[in-house]
Symmetry: C2
Subunit: 408 residues, 2 copies
Amino acid sequence: MSKLIVQKYGGTSVGSPERIKEVAKRVIRYHDRGDSVVVVVSAMSGQTNKLVELINEINPGGSAREKDVVLSTGEQVTIGLLSLALEAQGCPARSYTGAQARVMTDNAYCKARISNIDGSQIKQDLADGKVVVVAGFQGVDEHGNITTLGRGGSDTTAVALAVALEADECQIFTDVDGVYTTDPRMVPEAKHIPKLALEEMLEMASQGSKVLQIRAVEFAHKYDMPIRVLSSFDEGDDGKSTLVTREEDIMEEVLVRGVAFNKDEAQLTITGVPDQPGVAYKILGPISDANIEVDMIVQNIGSDGTTDFTFTVHRNDYEQAKKILCDTARELGAKDCTGDDKIAKVSIIGGGMRSHAGVASQMFEALAKENINIRMISTSEIKVSVVVDEKYLELAVRTLHEVFQLDQ
Amino acid sequence: MSKLIVQKYGGTSVGSPERIKEVAKRVIRYHDRGDSVVVVVSAMSGQTNKLVELINEINPGGSAREKDVVLSTGEQVTIGLLSLALEAQGCPARSYTGAQARVMTDNAYCKARISNIDGSQIKQDLADGKVVVVAGFQGVDEHGNITTLGRGGSDTTAVALAVALEADECQIFTDVDGVYTTDPRMVPEAKHIPKLALEEMLEMASQGSKVLQIRAVEFAHKYDMPIRVLSSFDEGDDGKSTLVTREEDIMEEVLVRGVAFNKDEAQLTITGVPDQPGVAYKILGPISDANIEVDMIVQNIGSDGTTDFTFTVHRNDYEQAKKILCDTARELGAKDCTGDDKIAKVSIIGGGMRSHAGVASQMFEALAKENINIRMISTSEIKVSVVVDEKYLELAVRTLHEVFQLDQ
């Protein structure tokens, strides 16, 4: 049976005229077997950086509206070129900018959110047998201003289009052939995962498995849109892929699906804070006012009526966050204010954790056996994360991968 | 009194971040003295060529619609960058793509014609004290498809916007400071012309004085929009310029305004054609079917019931046109079919010719004195053009410049 498929190709996949022709060839294989294909593309690799350089030479602090006018041209070039490549190989095609595809967004320039997509004209083109090529990463607000979606925008465009068009599948072509139990560059025994739940992918993505952008996974999760991750470097259609789909569609639920890790964070601690209502807000308020995102947060109540408070931020924000925190510490009469940017976060993720107790303690035991000190713990329904010294990262990942038998 | 001015800057004027900042500085001088300013910009020099190269690597014969999607990005980059440069210098600005400016065109992709511009939103921005920056060379058809206007498109955008907004003046900034009596590189005595009539400029432009695109001058002529040609390389506002305006606004009408010339043409002749109704169509029809533009046309009726027919085409089209003409010659039973691509066209132009007889014969006499053979003659109300051997071009131009006292 023929399907409606939305495919997304990133900047590397369309990085040169030759690569664009390869993408056209692949799209045509799907089109020729009767599928309706909508292709979402990024800017050719390097192009967005060139545009950013131009902007920075002129006015790095300038208005986000005008930056979006400049930045959105990268994808516009690619849609025209891919449509021309499809035509050159005999396949009727039609390009759409974000505005032409009616990818409606709010007007938060440079990080706009999609509110709605009117897919009626695209559906008409598909019914006429055309391949539709849409610019990722961009949209238009209600007044016709061009907006861009920010990081991960093209993945989000693809998923949102798939939802709007009621596609059967959203295929994300990238430089890897799917999701692995952990990073194969660190653990050669890492196994390819053919199928996992959207919730699991959400945790994997946010934990640093950089295959899919978390916004896109969140969108897919919200609307139950299955995503398939494939490699655009595979020849033919027999390559491996990972299908990310609804939990109900995954027959065998495993205890632990994978081990994710992240070396981009730094830890900040404030100790001996007089415990009183609103103390968490007093500590984190100034941090978020400075536009610094906080990831893990742990609070312990001490015995002497004071509290210890630890959180992590991106390593790039470490110095600034530490300065703000130490100012706060003085104001609150806290005992001490410390930090460490040589840490790493390691997480185990798996939908099966919901119904199985003891996974967390199994994790802690395994790390203890290797003498790896745990500095922070944070848990969700399907994830346990710990912060360890950066130097133990590799050992921790290998140990957990083995203990939970992910290599089998 | 404050004015509404449309300014156009070409690719060289916005060729680098530094040049864009210079343009911003110049725009702000007008804005600061209270003028409302709309700026039309081209793509940064070299950008359009890069885009054309990408297109040609993929599908040079591909659909014009998709080519326009790619080509229109060049100007879109410039409008964003110039708006950022204006903001950086403290001047509120807002960019418009062709579509956002509602530059409505037909759907003749790559050579679209402007049908209408809805300037209401631009007027609102001007009333709010903003500088409005519009992408030249591009528009949008009634279905929202992106179109480009083809050669000279940015000049045309500027004039059309000036007309739609009822501007006081359309200023074209280029790399020369206006129009001269002839090309100063050939005749050092050439004089700057501070003011000339639109009709005269129309003839000058079409005769190869490459200061303004003829389409833009035609548009200005049709709607009586004064154009001022200025150099974007002049510092300050005291530079020279040429105002091109209605004939009525020019007090002193001169006999000959300037000498224009053109080395880009080639001559084709078919002799001894049996004279019968429709012969001109039979000769030129196949040429125009091949999309070859014909410039001068001269037909002489011979004494033996046959006719000789001569015309000129662009030198690039010479070989193809000659082949077509010789095929036609055989079909029509003509005597001969010849051609020459080593020719040049020289024209004298001036509104005063209308009321003064004898200008043409004065021209022919001057050329005869120098032993320059005239191969073709064509005249209009305010212009006399002759075709001469290319080797006599410089002598012809100098002679005419002197004879009509243009150096005084």
